[in-house]
């Protein structure tokens, strides 16, 4: 497999990998770094691509493990993950300026979810994977995926309504 064929496999997936990394690592720079490293790792595995059922699923697994490793490294070296990258230039694309705060709030709520819930919610509601794909990639059964998803959505709703009704009720 040469570079061109490899890129044809990887280019459609790389943005998804990046967003997944960002969901887990929060920082944009770190997510970019992680994606780069994951893609290079994939390049070294390219000979196995033919044997894989889905390159994307494999890539997602590698990304997830890479990010977990990064997070573990951080917590063990007592470095705190600093959540400073919530507001990036993308948010300007949202037209409803009055809602921008609430949008950032939701994104923050998502990042505050437990890792498993965050991952499932991200894969379902942002990347729109089917439950069976999620189940396969996270080594869960589909019922567990549905329950986790429901829990994550409800947690966010609860927090969101609390904020929305703040000072009203």
């Amino acid at each position: 497999m040469n570079q061109k064929e490899f890129l044809a496999h990887v280019t459609p997936v790389q943005d998804r990998l990046y967003r997944l990394a960002k969901r887990l690592l929060v920082s944009e720079d770190e997510a970019q770094d992680a994606t780069q490293e994951v893609l290079i790792k994939l390049w070294s595995y390219r000979k196995k691509f033919k044997k894989l059922k889905s390159v994307e699923a494999f890539a997602v697994t590698i990304t997830k493990n890479h990010c977990y490793d990064k997070l573990k490294l951080k917590s063990s070296s007592n470095l705190q993950l600093v959540h400073t990258n919530y507001e990036d230039e993308h948010y300007n694309t949202v037209k409803q300026t009055e809602n921008q705060d609430s949008v950032n709030w939701v994104l923050k709520l998502m990042n505050d979810l437990p890792e498993q819930q965050r991952l499932v919610l991200h894969m379902r509601d942002i990347e729109q994977y089917s439950n069976s794909e999620i189940a396969e990639e996270l080594n869960l059964n589909e019922t567990a995926v549905r329950v986790t998803l429901s829990r994550a959505r409800k947690t966010i709703r609860e927090q969101l309504l609390k904020k929305h009704n703040y000072g009203i009720r």
Binding site: Y18, R19, I126, R146
Partner: protein
């Protein structure tokens, strides 16, 4: 779209029971500007999903070049090793057979004589040099008596 249907979908959505298509309908509804007032609070949720879908990987990827595999290096090394071993063993066995003996006894005697003379010469030369040491003895005898 009827409000009932949306409310129903929303209910299912939080139970995790909606299909991807139904979720797309919800997404469409909540990012449009016709959201019913009492559902307004869910707008940021779906707006956030839309925003989160936008990030992209923007680094240029530099893939490490493949090093051409040199299959011939180990092969050449093993051939060299074999040749080397073969040559050294051959040499040794050759020197085992040829001990430098002479077949003709006369020549052998002559050569032996020659060799012994040569050794004698060397011995004489070196013992000649030892004579000079007597000088020390003489001087010490003079002093110590």
């Amino acid at each position: 779209m009827e409000l009932d249907k949306i409310e129903n979908l929303l209910q299912l959505y939080f139970e995790g029971e909606t299909s991807l298509e139904q979720e797309a309908q919800l997404q469409n509804y909540f990012t449009s500007d016709k959201v019913a007032a009492h559902l307004e609070e869910y707008k940021p949720l779906f707006a956030a999903f839309a925003v989160a879908r936008e990030g992209s990987f923007n680094r240029t990827l530099e893939l490490p070049e493949d090093k051409p595999k040199r299959y011939w290096i180990p092969i050449a090394a093993s051939i060299l090793l074999c040749v080397g071993l073969f040559l050294t063993f051959n040499q040794q066995s050759g020197s085992d057979q040829d001990l430098g003996t002479y077949k003709d006894p006369e020549v052998a005697a002559l050569k032996t004589k020659q060799a012994l003379f040569m050794m004698g010469n060397f011995v004489n030369k070196s013992t000649g040099n030892l004579n000079k040491l007597d000088a020390f003895e003489e001087t010490t005898n003079q002093i110590l008596k």
